[in-house]
């Protein structure tokens, strides 16, 4: 089991689908954070949280991926990820295990994938019982920042 052939992803659920980000990007997962909304910000920005004195922007991943709004009983989970400029929080319905996958199971994103997902989903890995869709952390951060600039009226 050579490390170059195995990748580890922190998995999470969005709208019943399994997603993942590189485990190296993830700082921690937090539930029950008090989120301050930011009026006039783009809909992808869910708000701000206080992470031990540091203000972290919470990104609504469902909004980024054009998925329907979350309506669950349990509060969503903040997955704190490191990006180039600053840590961000990705909001997920539920956080899962760290999954180890083999590089040979990688499939690039299908060509039929449309819209924003093309840039944000790096590809998928086949698992025994389904797929894990891998998101590019930095791409999402860039996308959110770019859209925030555009959304300005």
């Amino acid at each position: 089991m050579s490390p170059s052939e195995n990748r580890q992803f922190c998995s999470f659920l969005l709208d019943g689908m399994l997603f993942g980000v590189d485990v190296g990007d993830v700082q921690e997962g937090l539930r029950d954070q008090r989120i301050t909304r930011v009026p006039l910000a783009s809909s992808m920005i869910h708000g701000l949280i206080n992470l031990r004195g540091q203000i972290v922007t919470v990104v609504d991943l469902r909004q980024c991926l054009d998925l329907p709004k979350y309506i669950g009983d349990r509060p969503p989970v903040n997955i704190i990820v490191r990006t180039r400029d600053e840590p961000m929080s990705f909001l997920a319905d539920e956080i899962g295990d760290v999954l180890s996958v083999s590089e040979s199971d990688f499939e690039p994103a299908p060509e039929t994938l449309r819209g924003v997902a093309v840039d944000l989903i790096r590809g998928t890995y086949k698992l025994d019982d389904g797929l894990i869709r891998v998101l590019d952390t930095q791409q999402i951060a860039d996308y959110v920042v770019a859209k925030a600039g555009q959304g300005q009226t």
């Binding site: 009026p39 006039l40 783009s42 031990r52 004195g53 925030a148 300005q152």
Partner: protein, 808 residues
């Protein structure tokens, strides 16, 4: 490798510091070439740089510092004197070292530039001035030489000192501990370099044998005297490095992290205090109290680590002053006061560029050429003072020159020329207002664009930069006497007092600096003072109409159809805010109170919204957004509409007795009678030819801006029929209400001043005089134009519409 990197890093930091000192010493030496202490200090710094560069194998850096050191050695020996060309070369050497340092910092290597030209200059200047020196009397020189012998340990022939570290050590003070031990490492190169320079020197020696004796003398002199005489010199150096030994360099990132953690600790403490407030156990109470105290002290201490004396930033100023004054062919003496004044590090960084600009400006535009200074009876040398001090929890920085000052006529002319103001406006503008107009974008009075400044992008950038730091910049200038630019900034940007408000359940904070006043009108007062103009609301406050915006609507957190009347009835917490020059009223659900907040930056994704300046953490650990008042105003459309339209609505003509008067136009009417009119409601002062006066019914009118403007003879209302102005034209002060103009005829316009404080109010409602005060030692009657118009019976509110349609 990592170790070497650390060395390089230390080297870079210390060398940069050394260069600052070097630069200042050189400027001082230029002023006073006989200053042996300065020369010694320059010498030592260059020597240290050379030594460290040699150790770290930066050969270009070593070589050029060597050339400089060599040159200085000759100066120190009295072989040559410091000519302007020579000092220029030395300054260029400093620049070259900086360049090399920058390159090392960036790429780890010195880069391709080997500064051959500079080395030649340092060498060439050497030979040239040497021949010149020949003409000078040898006696004086040899006296100088003997003076210099004392400190002389490593001049043109490094071999002596390099090979004798004991001789050399007291001077080095261990600032670069490695440089001594490494000295022998580069001495061989030095010898070759020395040989080269010696050869270069030798040619001149052949022509000029005189400079040679000192060298021989030095070689043969006993080694003892330098040891005895050098300690006084190294003393100052030692005390200098002694202070640096008691301080530690800390990464700003680490400090910021500590700040955050302390902030968290404060919050945790707050929670502990809450939890234990019901406890009776004295042990717990004592412990929490102690925790409370220590936390506060810790917070205080961490805050202080961010404070830096302003002197660090000013270290560059002597060099800049020197360079700029050279470029402009001016003589300038720089005075610096209050270098120990402390302010936040980030503020110092933000202030550097504006300061540099202002200093350049003062020398280029402010201080006159030596010639014209002499002609105007001033000393040839101009004075530029940089001053910093604390006042009222703020830091004041002044850039004060004794130059020509601002020429108001020139500024007025220029402002009109550039279309910033109309010629009418310029008449009613006070000198002060006019002076501030140099902060407008694109404004420059420089007749010619100079290399230094005068591209017209200066002062507005200065102003913007300083305002971004939460500061204010103002300017005071007296023609012929000089200009003072005053910058006021808060002590720190990290902690500011702010007002906490709520809207729709969210907390927002507003920087206290923007808050003018808080209002809590009851629903009846609110309803009677709020007015609707189409879709906009205004709030009447002491006779002034303020644009009224509702925070929920502005942030779109409330449905827009919810009107001001509905929400106003329920809650009317109003905050009068200052956005630039404008005031407006902001309505919120509740005003919680003022508190000191720690400003935290927003994430990159939120910076573009333009309505928040940052965020902060509240006592309960939640995040609160800091509102950008300028951004709020902009979003409310405050700057798209002309203020006149909002404030001058017909409502303001209603029976308001108390008018907020700010600045007064002082006019003369009749014989020696002075009146003052608030310039707030005035548009301009016009010259009207008597011949242009026409009559409509029984009113005097003139045609004005495509309409008819009735004239009011002020003298008729002051029971003083004698008009003393018998020239062909009248002074007409134009008062504007809505889209109507009324001309008030006065005999002379004298001045614009501030409203005096002691106005004796007059009770007579049928006189246009609202009060009397002493202005500029003269009794002056205050005139309310609105009341004057009412008494004159001109367009009463009911007939406004009718008259307007008749006219058009």
């Amino acid at each position: 490798m990592g170790e070497l990197d650390d060395f390089v890093n230390d080297f870079l930091i210390e060398t940069k510091e050394g260069l600052g000192q070097l630069e200042n010493d050189l400027v001082a030496l230029e002023e006073n070439p006989q200053d042996a202490d300065r020369l010694g200090s320059i010498f030592r710094i260059l020597h240290t740089i050379k030594g460290s560069a040699g150790f770290l194998e930066f050969s270009t850096l070593r070589d050029i510092s060597h050339s400089g050191e060599h040159l200085l050695g000759r100066i120190r020996n009295g072989e040559i004197t410091l000519s302007p060309a020579l000092s220029n070369s030395l300054f260029r050497l400093i620049d070259a070292i900086r360049e090399l340092l920058a390159s090392i910092e960036e790429s780890g290597a010195e880069g391709d530039n080997s500064f051959v030209e500079l080395k030649q200059q340092l060498g060439a200047a050497d030979t040239k001035s040497e021949t010149k020196v020949l003409a000078e009397p040898t006696e004086e020189k040899s006296r100088e030489i003997s003076e210099f012998q004392a400190s002389d340990e490593s001049c043109s022939d490094d071999t002596i000192t390099v090979m004798a570290p004991a001789d050399h050590a007291p001077d080095e003070t261990g600032e670069f501990a490695q440089s001594d031990s490494e000295a022998s490492g580069f001495s061989r190169d030095d010898i070759t370099a020395m040989d080269d320079s010696k050869n270069g020197g030798y040619h001149s020696v052949q022509q000029a044998p005189e400079p040679e004796p000192p060298l021989v003398e030095r070689l043969t002199k006993p080694p003892k005297p330098p040891l005895e005489t050098s300690p006084p010199k190294s003393d100052s150096k030692i005390s200098g490095s002694g202070s640096s030994a008691s301080s530690v360099r800390v990464e700003v990132d680490l400090l910021n992290r500590l700040m955050n953690l302390v902030g968290e600790l404060v919050l945790t403490r707050n929670r502990i205090l809450q939890v234990t407030s019901g406890q009776q156990d004295p042990d717990i109470l004592n412990t929490t109290q102690r925790l409370n105290q220590i936390t506060s002290e810790l917070q205080d201490g961490i805050m202080r680590t961010r404070m830096h004396p302003i002197g660090g930033m000013w270290q560059r100023m002597p060099r800049i002053t020197r360079d700029v004054s050279r470029q402009c062919a001016k003589k300038v003496r720089l005075e610096i006061e209050g270098t120990e004044t402390e302010l936040d590090k980030s503020l110092i960084e933000g202030l550097t560029d504006p300061m540099l600009h202002l200093v350049r400006n003062a020398i280029d535009h402010g201080i006159e050429s030596p010639n014209s200074r002499r002609l105007s009876g001033k000393p040839e040398e101009g004075r530029l003072t940089l001053r910093a001090f604390h006042e009222g929890g703020q830091v004041i920085i002044e850039i004060d020159d004794d130059g020509s000052g601002l020429d108001m006529d020139k500024i007025k002319h220029r402002a009109i020329q550039l279309g910033f103001i109309s010629s009418e406006e310029s008449l009613v503008m006070s000198a002060d207002e006019l002076q501030q107009s140099i902060f407008l974008p694109g404004f420059s009075t420089a007749d010619q664009v100079s290399n230094v400044s005068g591209r017209g992008v200066g002062m507005d950038v200065v102003k913007t930069n300083i305002e971004q730091l939460g500061g204010v910049v103002s300017l005071k200038s007296t023609l012929g006497q000089g200009t003072v630019v005053r910058i006021t900034v808060p002590l720190t940007l990290a902690i500011i007092p702010a007002l906490v408000v709520t809207r729709s359940g969210d907390h927002y904070t507003i920087p206290q600096a923007n808050v003018v006043e808080l209002l809590r009108p009851d629903s009846v007062t609110f309803a009677s003072n709020v007015e609707r103009i189409h879709d906009a609301f205004v709030y009447r406050l002491r006779g002034k109409l303020l644009p009224l915006v509702e925070l929920g609507n502005l942030l779109e957190v409330e449905r827009p159809e919810k009107t001001m009347d509905e929400s106003g009835a329920a809650a009317s917490h109003l905050i009068v805010l200052r956005a630039g020059e404008r005031h407006f009223a902001l309505m919120v659900d509740r005003i919680i109170g003022t508190q000191e907040i720690v400003v935290k930056p927003l994430g990159v994704a939120l910076e573009t919204i333009g309505i928040y300046t940052g965020s902060t953490i509240m006592g309960d650990g939640s995040v609160s957004l800091i509102l950008d008042v300028l951004g709020l105003g902009r979003r409310a459309g405050l700057f798209t509409r002309d203020e006149q339209e909002v404030i001058g609505e017909p409502e303001s003509m209603a029976d308001e007795t108390l008018v907020v008067v700010e600045r007064l136009l002082i006019c003369e009417v009749g014989l020696n009678r002075r009146i003052g009119i608030s310039i707030r409601s005035l548009t301009c002062v016009e010259h009207v030819a008597r011949a242009d006066i026409e009559y409509s019914v029984d009113e005097e009118v003139v045609q004005y801006r495509g309409g008819i403007m009735p004239l009011i003879r002020l003298s008729h209302f002051l029971m003083d029929e004698s008009e003393t102005n018998d020239s062909d034209s009248l002074y007409v002060v134009v008062h504007t209400a809505g889209d109507r103009h009324v001309g008030i005829v006065v005999d002379r316009v004298l001045d614009i001043t501030d409203t005096p404080s002691g106005i004796e109010r007059s009770a007579d409602g049928n006189s246009p005089i609202t009060g009397t005060a002493i202005v500029q030692d003269r009794v002056t009657d205050m005139i309310d134009p609105d009341r004057l118009i009412r008494i004159a019976g001109l367009f009463l509110p009911t007939t406004v519409g009718a008259e307007a349609s008749q006219e058009n």
